[in-house]
Amino acid sequence: MPNPPADDPHTFFVETNFQRLARRAGGVPREQALENARITLETIKVGFRDWLESEIADLAAAIRRGRTGQPADVAWAETALLHCRQIRDVGTTMGFQLVTFIAGNLCEMLDNVIAGAVPRNEMIDCHIDALYLARQEQYRHLSPEQLPELSGGLRRVLEVAHAGSPAKASGSKMAPGGEEQT
């Protein structure tokens, strides 16, 4: 590969193996692929409730440990964040939108704690309680928009938590599926 001058970007075209092979005929059409995926996700959902129960328990346990340790030690928050992210990242795909929403909120709060904010126990507890609620069957198919009191309340809690955060990273959030240019 030639060495370009330091300030002269060298551009070249690459046809990757992925591109070459993925364009072959004989693939799975989109509609069929999505139907296959739906069936696959149904089989994965079978163990989701047990997994979710276990993750929430681990999350709550990590938070409890944080209340008995040294205030400066945020290892508990890092452990809690790990479990919280795991819950957030799969909730909606498994049909639990509300779980993802609540866990996402709590992830931001825990990020703040790791960045130096004082943990607000009552706000964290509020989210744990909400997670226990959202995991129940009657809430499974509900979106945050369908429970405006709950979701609005949690959003306000998060705003309050952000207001007390010393080191919250700035940066606008992109709308889901948005086309905001970077």
């Binding site: 551009t11 591109q19 799975v28 795909t93 992109m174 599926g177």
Partner: protein
């Protein structure tokens, strides 16, 4: 609406995510789309080791892959001149939807960011987009990766994304992914951050 069909048979995928449940979902989706060769790793050490020792066709990597993070993995792969995986497509999977995160991923050399939680349609459409939308690579002393200036073409099979978002369900909208798009005046200006511990592995 155009429909692009992708053929994933025989393509070698590497899925790097610490969360076994999430990883199971991704692998399941890929197999539903016709993929036959998917390897999973749970940390950046294993990811780098595999990417340095065997050929993969595409990497799907969590942005917070412990311990170094997926962006450092991306940076390491793109910077290594003799790595046969240097130009493979890299999808960063992230629950962080901040614009700043997307910029960092772009500057590390990622092709796209896929927002978690993922949906089957968002994953399929992004793979199709990568397959059918050629992009130049840029090589400078500070950046190696896909050209960060590229056309705002719609994804195959979904028409216009904004239209798709409004027409789709709420859950679908929440799943939609972000492309790494830029009006960067100079495509060679990257962040240049790197982790020596990661870079030393070969």
């Amino acid at each position: 609406m155009t429909t692009a069909t992708i053929n994933l048979k025989g393509l070698v995928f590497l899925v790097a995510d610490a969360n076994p449940y999430f990883s199971r979902i991704i692998v399941g989706l890929l197999r539903s789309f016709g993929a036959t060769a998917v390897t999973e790793v749970r940390n950046s050490f294993d990811a780098i080791q595999l990417l340095n020792s065997q050929k993969f066709d595409i990497l799907l990597c969590d942005d917070r892959l412990p311990p170094h993070g997926g962006l450092q993995v991306t940076h390491a792969i793109r910077r290594k001149r003799d790595n046969e995986n240097r130009t493979i497509p890299i999808l960063i999977m992230s629950g962080d939807t901040r614009e700043s995160m997307v910029k960092i991923a772009r500057d590390a050399g990622a092709n796209m960011v896929l927002v978690k939680p993922v949906s089957a349609s968002s994953l399929y459409d992004r793979l199709a987009w990568i397959a059918f939308t050629p992009r130049q690579f840029v090589d400078t002393p500070t950046y190696f990766g896909p050209d960060r200036r590229f056309k705002n073409d719609p994804y195959p099979g979904v028409g216009r994304r904004r239209t798709d978002r409004h027409a789709g369900t709420g859950g679908e909208a929440a799943h939609a992914a972000q492309t790494l798009q830029a009006d960067t005046p100079n495509p060679g200006h990257g962040t240049g951050s790197e982790n020596p511990a990661l870079m030393d592995q070969s």
